[in-house]
């Protein structure tokens, strides 16, 4: 074990024998990692947006004209306590007329209707779709539940909304992971090739070590150590650069109707990036010895 550490330490010292090659390698790996990181950042934020928006199913509940407002209000209270409710807005007939009037002209155009208000009481309910695949059935159940409320005349619900949610789910399943995988592959190839290329500059060294009787692990341990160092240094640098980029762009989408504050990669993603890059660098060093 001590010997292994010593060999690793030697690997790190030896990196300075080829400072240029090392510098090139680290910067190329860093840049590849930055590219991957930008993708991760993008996917992470898109995914967050999706998660925030996807699950909402919206219902509009209309009560009978002239329903007892006392009872309707009591029902509203019951509705407000329902599971998975995300948002609820209620309209008395007066509020509805006011809104309609405002929508139409903003000048009290329908004031003359006030005495004989034709509009019913209504409520707008948005529910988060609970996790699981039975969202359709669940929504149907909810619809039925709402329809049988006393004095409710009609419940509208928009199945397109459900489609959208389902589509997003399928997109994030069918695109995001394959794209991530492809991305990881690309980064692995770039990083691996860069490392292998820099191994080529050390081929003579490896040959000589083997000629004087070094065991394979004696040759490899230092290379693995320097591979690990390259990977850690590069991914560290890459995360630093990403953070800078993020600070620069954090609020760039934070304007009126979008209000999207770009969030940085969560810890797991950072660790993932570091891990993958380091692993690939070490694998590159390992394979490089065979060439």
């Amino acid at each position: 074990m001590l010997r292994f550490l010593r060999l690793g330490w030697r690997g790190l010292r030896e990196m300075f024998l080829h400072p240029w090659a090392q510098l090139f390698t680290i910067s190329a790996v860093t840049m590849a990692a930055v590219l991957a990181g930008i993708f991760l950042l993008l996917l992470h934020n898109v995914n967050q947006e999706l998660i925030r928006n996807r699950g909402a199913v919206e219902f509009q509940v209309f009560w009978r004209e002239g329903a007892d407002m006392e009872q309707v209000r009591r029902e509203w209270q019951r509705l407000a306590a329902m599971d998975h409710l995300k948002e609820m807005e209620t309209f008395t007939p007066e509020q509805a007329l006011e809104g309609l009037s405002r929508d139409l002209s903003g000048q009290g155009a329908l004031d003359w209707l006030e005495e004989k208000n034709p509009l019913p009481a209504s409520a707008f309910l948005a529910f988060n779709i609970p996790p699981g695949d039975h969202s359709e059935i669940w929504a149907k159940g909810l619809l039925a539940e709402l329809r049988v409320l006393p004095d409710v005349r009609a419940v509208h619900y928009n199945p397109v909304q459900m489609d959208l949610a389902k589509s997003w789910l399928s997109v994030s399943r069918s695109v995001i992971w394959p794209v991530m995988g492809f991305l990881a592959l690309v980064v692995a190839l770039v990083v691996g090739n860069t490392v292998k290329l820099s191994m080529l500059t050390r081929r003579d060294e490896i040959e000589i070590l083997s000629l004087v009787g070094a065991r394979p692990w004696y040759i490899r341990a230092p290379l693995l150590a320097s591979g690990a160092f390259t990977g850690l240094a590069s991914s560290g640098l890459a995360l630093g650069l990403l953070r800078l980029l993020h600070l620069r762009l954090e609020h760039v989408l934070d304007f009126p109707p979008v209000f999207l504050v770009i969030s940085f990669l969560p810890m797991e993603h950072c660790l993932l990036l570091t891990g993958v890059v380091t692993a690939v660098c070490m694998a590159g060093s390992w394979v490089g010895v065979r060439q």
Binding site: I208, L209, S210, L211, V212, A214, R215
Partner: protein, 269 residues
């Protein structure tokens, strides 16, 4: 002068197996012959379509000294490469340092190379490392402790007149100095079998004499030496040395005892 057999330092070549000990396993390519002996039986080697070695047979007893001579391209380096498993042996049988080369497994190659010290014709030193580091490499690879290493490296570097260059990168050395580094690296492990390929090509007469004295000293302490050379003057420097003269890959002349049994066997078939 350095001492090839220091009293305290154990012989490194034998670190893992004492000479004369019976071989532990033969499947892997370990031979039943005595450690330190070199034996070739009808060995041939082909590069593509040209024969670099053809039916070479000889036996060098433990502690022998052999000069390999021959014109440029005769096959001297090829023969030496076979000995340290720098080339795989496909035709014929050979035994060296207790290993049977024709059965040698990949994972036993490092072990073989720790028993055989080689001075390469093209030096094969690391240009970016210092003289000290290059020489110490041979010990480091064998897992020698730091203090022991320092002492031995200093001794051999001094013996070869490289003291003042100890901490110079090898890329900054003259041709002769590089050659001496290569020699120092092979000597520092106190080898029992030395293969030297043209070790005096870049050295002047005085240095050559000094160097041959070092080789002779190792030899007198029991090391087996095989040296490929063009330099006729050094042939006379070792009175009891054998000579194997190669011509186009074949043994043209030799002072070694030649076994005649193999062609005989062939005649019987």
């Amino acid at each position: 002068m350095i001492s090839p057999c220091p009293v305290r330092g154990k012989s490194l070549a034998n670190k893992e197996e004492a000479p004369g000990k019976p071989p532990r396993f033969t499947k892997s390519g370990r031979a039943g012959t005595e450690f330190g002996m070199v034996e070739f039986k009808r060995v041939s080697y082909v590069f593509g379509s040209s024969w670099a070695l053809k039916d070479v047979s000889f036996t060098l007893e433990k502690g022998g000294f052999l000069f390999l001579t021959g014109h440029s391209g005769a096959g001297k380096t090829t023969l030496l490469r076979l000995l340290y498993a720098g080339l795989p042996l496909h035709r014929g049988r050979a035994t060296v340092a207790g290993f049977e080369l024709h059965k040698l497994r990949r994972r036993h190659v490092p072990e073989l190379r720790r028993r055989v010290s080689v001075v390469f014709q093209d030096f094969k030193i690391l240009p970016q490392r210092t003289v000290f580091e290059n020489v110490a490499l041979a010990l480091e690879v064998r897992g020698v402790t730091r203090q022991h290493m320092e002492r031995r490296v200093r001794a051999i570097v001094r013996a070869l007149g490289l003291e003042s260059k100890s901490y110079t990168r090898c890329a900054h050395l003259s041709g002769g100095e590089q050659q001496r580094v290569a020699i120092a690296r092979s000597m520092v492990v106190n080898p029992k079998l030395i293969l030297a390929d043209e070790p005096t090509g870049n050295l002047d007469a005085d240095l050559t004499t000094d160097l041959m004295n070092i080789f002779k000293q190792f030899h007198s302490y029991g090391a087996t030496v095989i040296m490929a050379t063009h330099n006729r003057t050094i042939l006379n420097m070792v009175p009891d040395a054998h000579i194997l003269h190669l011509e186009q890959g074949q043994v043209a002349e030799t002072t070694l005892p030649v076994e005649q049994d193999e062609p005989h066997t062939e005649g019987l078939l």
